[in-house]
């Protein structure tokens, strides 16, 4: 059993942050890795990326958006409540090293993960340009935290209610046009967004890492539900990823698979409400 020791509602309660006591995982987890959790005995297993950790206090932070039955159930939990199972860390850590100037592009809840990886890149001595986006002002998360360590930070909203109006790809393109010292783009967010980012950076021939988050069950490489095609080969996101070279990922396939499951997720949520 794993206790929730802190709960914070973000983005008007649609995005929630939990600190969960998990000393073994906190000791091990590196930026980019995730955990699989199961709330109770009848629950499903869902992957959630670790957004932060404190190995001395022995907890990990997760940030999730309420999209389905399990995340809706999790929102109803409070400090002191227990989560039945938390297993991890899963996946390979992000490949963090000192390479120079980096653009970190995040959208939606992806910013939660981006923030953990971006901090690591900064600590490794890189010049970090952050670009984070959200649908509107209310849905924007972790701006302050990102601003705390990014060398430059640009915020976009789809509706212009805050920061620049438009998509994260607009300022990214501008940077790519203006600067020739950018060594790496690292992006996390909705699949469509990552796809766009990759299409653009491919033209500029700049290495782009994406962090994928497909449907998972076990998270240990056992089910193959998380499979993605990378470089024409089947890869299991939970053990071979979650980070891949974005220019080699077959996004069309991934989008199709994902849209199917989103449909399922909605049905499952409806079922639970009924």
């Amino acid at each position: 059993m794993f206790q929730i020791i802190k709960k914070e509602e973000m983005a008007k309660g649609t995005i929630i942050r939990f600190d969960i006591a998990a000393p073994n995982i906190a000791k091990k987890v590196k930026p980019g890795q995730f955990v699989i959790l199961r709330v109770n005995d009848t629950g499903e297993r869902i992957p959630l990326t670790v957004a932060d950790k404190d190995e001395f206090a022995g907890f990990i932070t997760i940030i999730f958006q309420v999209v389905g039955k399990t995340t809706a159930l999790m929102r109803s939990l409070n400090v002191g409540d227990m989560i039945k199972d938390v297993a991890g860390p899963m996946g390979k850590p992000a490949d963090v090293e000192k390479i120079g100037t980096i653009i970190m592009v995040g959208g939606g809840t992806g910013v939660a993960i981006l923030h953990h990886v971006a901090k690591a890149f900064k600590d490794a001595g890189n010049y970090v340009i952050g670009i984070i986006g959200a649908r509107d002002k209310d849905m924007l998360i972790l701006e302050k935290e990102m601003a705390g360590f990014c060398d430059e930070l640009v915020v976009t909203t789809d509706d212009g209610s805050y920061g620049l109006q438009g998509f994260v790809t607009d300022p990214m393109k501008k940077y790519l046009d203006e600067r020739d010292d950018i060594k790496l783009i690292y992006t996390i967010g909705p699949i469509k967004m990552m796809h766009f980012v990759c299409k653009i950076t491919e033209k500029y021939k700049i290495k782009t890492m994406v962090s994928l988050n497909p449907v998972m069950i076990d998270g240990t490489g056992m089910c193959g539900g998380c499979r993605v095609t990378v470089d024409d080969k089947i890869q299991f996101c939970c053990v071979d990823g979650p980070d891949f070279d974005g220019h080699k990922v077959d996004f069309d396939e991934l989008e199709k698979r994902n849209s199917l499951y989103q449909q399922d997720e909605k049905e499952s949520l409806l079922f639970s409400i009924r």
């Binding site: 091990k28 056992m222 199709k256 698979r257 199917l260």
Partner: protein, 606 residues
Amino acid sequence: MSHEDIKNMKSKTFLKTYCPHCHQSFIKDTKGEKWAKFKSSIKQNDLEVEISPYLEASDRKFSIPVKDGDQLEDLICPKCNKSLISEESKCEECGSAIGQMLVSADSKLIPFSLCTKAGCQWNGLSKADIRKITPKIKRQEMPEQDPKMRVHNFDEVPYGYTTETAMLEAERCLQCKNPKCVDGCPVNIDIPSFIALISEEKFDEAAKKIKETNVLPAVCGRVCPQESQCEELCIVGVKEEPVAIGRLERFVADYERKMDLVSMPHIGSKTNKKIAVVGSGPGGLTVAADMQLLGYNVTMFEALHEAGGVLTYGIPEFRLPKSIVNFEIDYLKKMGVRLELNHVIGQTLTVDELLENFDGIFIGVGAGLPWFMDLEGEYLGNVFSSNEYLTRMNLMKAYKFPEYDTPKPIGNKVAVIGGGNVAMDCARTAIRTGAKEVTIVYRRSRTELPARIEEIHHAEEEGINFKLLTSPIRYFGNDRAAVKAMECIQMELGEPDSSGRRRPVPLENSNFTMDIDMVIVAVGTGPNPVIFQTTPNLKRDKRGYIVVNEETMETSIPNVYAGGDIVTGSATVIEAMGAGRIAARAMHQKLSGAATKTKEEVVGVS
């Protein structure tokens, strides 16, 4: 029901006895009753003896008064007047002289003895002889749930033997002096001994006998491929159906559990040495049990939220009820084994870290990485690996959706690719969860299907279709990117390959398309890379499985042992258990400094 009652249940065995000299029958019909008739004398008075010709009866009639214990002086054939008394042999029970005759058995005549001491029952027939004479007991069937009913539920299919049928089946065993069945068992269970205990109605002792070599009899009785192990070699099987060893094993294990006769074993003197077992499948469970019994402190690490490995996440409820698996795991916990769930070794803790805290490590992580076939459209929705499908259904209990949260994969027309136990399990799960039509698509012919015969039979009874000599080559999706059809090609069998099985070769222009809305790919699994990512010095073979010393199961890292599917590739429950047993003994010998034993001495010695 006692042994005697069982005997009485069988129709009586009529003994046709003949004179060894004139070959005429001794049987006489007196007033509608058949008796065997002889001439004899007692204290020099001639008399006539009549003996009931039934094996099970011991009635005798004498023409003058005779008491039990009186000694007949002679036995003479009433037809040719020659003495039947044997020069060479004596009664093996009382040492008296015996009359020797012949009895017809299995269209042969075999010797039959009659003791000259009134009241002595010895007849010189061996158990095998009696078998030849007695009307044959047929292999006992297990009653099963009606296929029409069971396709609507997840309850176990066979109900198991009753005490009566188990004892009847046990009667069929010849108690061979040189039992071939034992050679066929990967852990060399003392099969004739446990079967003898069943015929003596000592069911709990029978269970204990099996447990000397096999810690999971209730599981093995259900899932072992007996037809290619013990039962394949059973002597009875030469002429008729072999003794149902697996069903008997299952019976005694269930009896012991249901009657609450399972007792805590004696635990050896405690040491302060610590053992880590990685993975809680049958291999890991065996090592944990054996080492805990030897007095070590065992901690078992499991990546998932439930223990049991394939027994829990793979094999469905209707074939192996989870209550049985949980019972065995609880038993280990009661023995003192610590279970750490949600621990992915290689991630949460590494093998190196375990080595700092434990004296010995066993790696039994299975071969759980599913293979796909690299076909066009395999990414489509509703195309699952067998592992994903079974994990959702069994481990996550999706078949109980919405009571459980994991959505139930739904298909009307389901194709299962593959022909092993895994494929049968998927097909039968699909038919139970509402599929209208389920087809097993297998590239070889029926004889090559690797599944247990019983499972193939059950699948057929449940209405699963078999499309043999067929292989998929492409999947087509609908506008929602869910699979809607598949293109297949027909095969024919060519030359045998290295495994000795005939290689399937595609038949040109035999392509056809099948409408389907779900595909389950059950074409095998490989080694999972996770544990190796942080243990690069663990030596592996070309295919990625761990290399071990076969005598000890020790890996290239001292004090780290491995066994089960992660060493052999996908195999069987009992083979994983056998490997676990060897590893446990070797580990114990190394850690306690005991003299090393060979593999042969280890297996089968408890």
